[in-house]
């Protein structure tokens, strides 16, 4: 989780990724943030996030993003 927080903070240092739970629903992250996050996650965790995974519930919080990463790593 620490590594993930480091990645997210690197992309949007102004966002409270520890506590926010509506990153997408409340429009805190824009599409440029999201593509940066997807790209970093793919590289860091050696996963391939697909279009079918682009649901708000997968990106609304750091915990949700971590769950998505774990799911994709387990599927690899």
């Amino acid at each position: 989780m620490e590594k993930l927080l480091e990645i997210l903070d690197g992309i949007r240092p102004d966002v409270d990724f520890v506590n926010e739970t509506k990153l997408i629903d409340d429009g805190i992250l824009d599409s440029f943030d999201l593509v940066s996050i997807i790209s970093e996650l793919n590289d860091e965790y050696d996963i391939a996030i697909r279009v079918t995974e682009l649901k708000p519930e997968n990106f609304n919080s750091t915990e949700a993003i971590m769950n998505l990463v774990q799911k994709l790593k387990n599927n690899n």
């Binding site: 824009d30 440029f32 999201l34 593509v35 940066s36 997807i38 790209s39 793919n42 279009v51 682009l54």
Partner: protein, 364 residues
């Protein structure tokens, strides 16, 4: 997997035409705010684009590019056996715009002429279609024209797209040759992504589609006649499927990144191209970019980029890998040897086919 080999057909020339009208990206700061526009420029690399005037179309620019190319190469027009125009910005619902270009170029009636309805991937698919026709016929020379004026269907308030789009058309001359200069082409498609890039109205599905603006899921105002792009979906598709396509292409052709002098890629946006280049270990000096000057010029963009980079370069052979991807979803790649002396510098042109503007049925 559709892999095509054309052994005795070469790219004998290419030209590009675009309007002179420049829109600076920073002028959108009043509309969208400084922070948003600065972030856009950083991510996309786009600082300006070119836009056509009200009645100028992709076919006009394509005609200009083709006319200059035929003159430059001193081509006997009666030898052109096929003309394909790849566009999503036709002059009319019918006839196909390729016929307008055919008329204006003064080509013979012994010419096979049609449009291909594709956007960003139109050049890759057009080359395959044209080369296939030539390979199975007595056609010795043929023209592919590709271009779009996507800005005309983009809502001016659509901050996701209005700053992104540039307008241009290109012409490519294919010729049969005795030399062994193979063109190898690989193409893919996924109709599941048909909604990722779409103009919902204008076809025959909904003839009474409303022109009223609505607030979309991304908070941007558009109507059914406007382009809609799900940017994150397109990006996600691109960074996974394009590297895979390239790796498959190299495996099937027994080549590597080192075998190519130049990577002429669709100029989608800077961040996407940087991600693809990083994954494929393509040296930046081998991937020319024109995003900063011309934006995303749809299917024309790989040739726009070659004309910009090599239009003034004398005699130099380039083993080039072309790659394009976008609306459909549709993506593909092909390799070809090109000589820089066959690449014309970018042409600016603001003229249009005045006879083609039909304002009343009584004119017909």
């Amino acid at each position: 997997m559709p892999l095509f080999n054309f052994n005795n057909i070469k790219i004998a020339g290419m030209a590009c035409a675009m309007p002179s009208n420049i829109t600076k990206t920073e002028t959108f700061k009043d509309l969208f705010g400084t922070e948003e526009v600065d972030k856009f420029m950083l991510m996309t690399g786009i600082t300006q684009t070119r836009r056509t005037s009200k009645h100028q179309t992709a076919a006009d620019l394509g005609y200009t590019a083709a006319e200059k190319l035929l003159q430059h190469k001193n081509i006997d027009r009666s030898e052109i056996g096929a003309l394909i125009f790849g566009t999503h910005s036709p002059d009319y619902r019918r006839p196909a715009s390729a016929f307008i270009i055919h008329k204006r170029l003064g080509l013979s009636i012994d010419t096979a002429v049609f449009d291909i309805s594709l956007g960003c991937s139109a050049m890759v698919y057009g080359i395959q279609a044209l080369a296939s026709m030539m390979a199975s016929s007595n056609i010795k020379k043929a023209l592919l024209i590709v271009g779009d004026t996507a800005g005309k269907t983009t809502n001016p308030l659509d901050r996701a797209s209005i700053m992104l789009i540039g307008e241009a058309s290109v012409a490519i001359l294919l010729e049969k040759t005795e030399e062994s200069t193979p063109i190898v082409s690989l193409m893919r498609s996924d109709g599941n992504g048909y909604r990722y890039l779409i103009v919902p109205a204008g076809g025959y599905r909904n003839l009474e589609a409303s022109h009223e603006n609505e607030i979309c899921h991304d908070g941007i105002e558009r109507n059914l006649h406007n382009s809609m792009m799900q940017g994150t979906s397109v990006f996600t598709f691109t960074i996974s499927d394009i590297p895979k396509l390239m790796k498959d292409f190299w495996q099937l052709t027994n080549t590597t990144v080192d075998d190519y002098d130049c990577f002429a890629f669709h100029q989608a946006n800077l961040y996407i191209l940087q991600q693809i280049a990083k994954k494929l270990k393509i040296p930046p000096e081998k991937m020319p970019l024109t995003l900063s000057k011309f934006g995303n010029t749809s299917g024309a963009s790989p040739i726009v980029t070659l004309c910009d980079a090599f239009g003034e370069v004398e005699e130099k052979e380039l083993n080039t890998l072309f790659c394009a991807f976008g609306v459909g979803l549709s993506w593909g790649a092909f390799s070809a040897k090109i000589n820089t002396s066959d690449i014309l510098p970018i042409i600016e042109d603001d003229t249009y086919f005045e006879e083609g503007v039909i304002n009343s049925m009584k004119e017909l």
